[in-house]
Symmetry: C2
Subunit: 342 residues, 2 copies
């Protein structure tokens, strides 16, 4: 009660407006929606009445009639993870304060819960769905027979005919190495995370490709897979140094790993970037920018990905259906942890 501005019974309806303006609801509707066939003076009277009653049309009734609700569902699988959020922001942004509102659902990586949410959303007659995976590997598509367009973001659908949007991890690995080479580095190691992540594999592919083009080998001989943690970054770096591997640059598979790498380098008395340059991945602001020195990092443009996902979805809703997986480029953000050798 405390928050109810007016204890009045119900929201004002179009007929209230029509009555106040002295016209029929049909005319009122046309006046408010900018339809022709309404005398200017009548329209003004209606608009004034609507203003006075602070009328706002009932979207339910409108959606019921139009067969379109102007709502979409966004199903994420790890809200706590930091990947869903920028995507969500991008999508929210692209839909705009415009005509589309977003239902947010967190499935927590549980297929049952996901299905449940899909059902609920369809029951609310959403016009489309965006599915954001928990990790970038391909995931099973939603149950077949969903009667609205679906766009998969971050994690592509296993069905190649579905519309999916993913980051170019191969390219991300490549630009990191190209930057290091451009800095004059030649003995480059790659410490990354869980090898069961396709993204880790893809980045390695990009790394090896870029090195190969430059006629270089990977320092240490092999990609160092581990976990996506600072501890692993430290451990792998120590290992590398203990083995006496000659290294003047390390590309880390995540910013967390990079923090560990920098830490271990300092511990061993190596200067960053003078002795060893370091690149992270993800461009997680709070980690990358606050490191000592601030970390150069590969940004996978998640917000952009979310925006594109939203655009593809509205296109599909409007009948301009696309199909297949679209790969979006990464972007290098340079900070102080890389610099020309000298």
């Amino acid at each position: 009660m405390a928050t109810n501005g007016s204890p009045s019974s119900r929201a004002t309806t179009l007929s209230d407006v029509a009555r106040l303006a002295g016209v029929s609801i049909a005319t009122a509707s046309k006046a408010l929606n900018g339809r022709t066939q309404v005398k200017a003076e009548t329209r003004a009277r209606v608009l004034d009445a609507a203003e006075r009653l602070s009328f706002s049309p009932n979207a339910l009734a409108r959606g019921l009639l139009a067969g379109r609700t102007g709502t979409v569902g966004l199903i994420t699988s790890d809200l706590d993870g930091r990947f869903s959020i920028p995507i969500l922001m991008g999508a929210e942004d692209a839909f705009g304060s415009g005509r589309v509102s977003v239902f947010l659902c967190d499935a927590r990586g549980d297929a049952i819960r996901e299905q449940h949410h899909v059902r609920a959303l369809l029951s609310r007659r959403v016009d489309g769905l965006i599915v954001v995976g928990a990790r970038p590997d391909p995931r099973p598509p939603l149950e077949p027979g969903v009667p609205v367009p679906v766009v998969y973001a971050y994690a592509p659908s296993q069905d190649p005919k579905d519309v999916s949007l993913v980051s170019d991890n191969v390219g991300g690995g490549r630009i990191a190495i190209e930057h290091l080479i451009a800095c004059g580095r030649r003995r480059i190691a790659h410490i990354t995370g869980d090898p069961t992540y396709g993204a880790a594999q893809d980045r390695s592919v990009g790394v090896l490709d870029a090195l190969g083009r430059a006629g270089l080998e990977l320092a240490g001989g092999t990609v160092l897979y581990g976990t996506w943690s600072e501890a692993w970054g430290r451990g792998a770096t120590r290992l590398l140094l203990q083995q006496g591997t000659d290294v003047d640059a390390i590309f880390a598979g995540s910013d967390q790993i990079a923090r560990g790498v920098v830490d271990a380098l300092h511990e061993a008395g190596r200067r960053v970037p003078e002795d060893v340059a370091v690149i992270g991945f993800d461009n997680w602001e709070v980690l990358a920018a606050n490191a000592r020195p601030p970390l150069t990092s590969v940004d996978i443009n998640l917000e952009h990905l979310g925006r594109v996902a939203a655009q593809r979805l509205v296109a599909a809703i409007d009948g301009h259906a696309a199909s297949g997986t679209e790969v979006l480029p990464c972007r290098l953000v340079t900070r102080s942890s890389t610099a020309p050798i000298g």
Copy 2:
């Protein structure tokens, strides 16, 4: 098109079910909703038909009739900030996969955009609103006259009659200090962030209160206010040490600051926790758990806050209206950065 299971024209409706079951739509409705006055055998036939057509009732039509939509709006002011997200998760959780769906809106701290979103949500006839502030200071209430219950979370409304949920920052400061004292520490400093944050002030109050009870003074004589950054944690710690302040514990106003503190302590050759114990604030997993040593930290239970917000909102929607600001307790998460002095 690719994602459309059936290119069929429209979703199946109750009359489709009724026709297939050979009954009227009234009977079909009653059968599906567990109403009495339906013969068991008839009910079975209807349920079977609904199953076969994979019927799901149109929530719009239902909401139109019932005057309740089973939706709520969640307006956040900083999605990128890490405070909205746990609250959002808690709320999503409390509403459950149950009957309530959540519209998510990001106002980006812009009052105009916020108002716009409120209007849009009201037009969609949400049953209630949760407003999550960007920072924990009191904020202006929504425009008056909102015809549904509103709950403010994290940032309370400036109107004390509104329903608000906030963390107990005073208590958070207090339990941090009490823990340090229990560890045998006596020379405790407090390095925190932006003094224009009420939360920073409140924690300081808790700190001074706990110290006072124990008959202690703040090491360094005064609370060190600065910014919520690692750099400030480092800088303030260096300052403290340069001044020759005798210190055996530092309570940091955030985990980021705490990371800087630990960093500077190491740099100065002090051991953590043997020489100096450190406590962070926020319990931001990725920072606190990955620090060396892992940081003891005060957790403000944001997810719980979100859950309670959701509960208060449904209570208000169901007519059990409360009023006023509710303060929820913090919780200390101990890790290795604090230990009994020895």
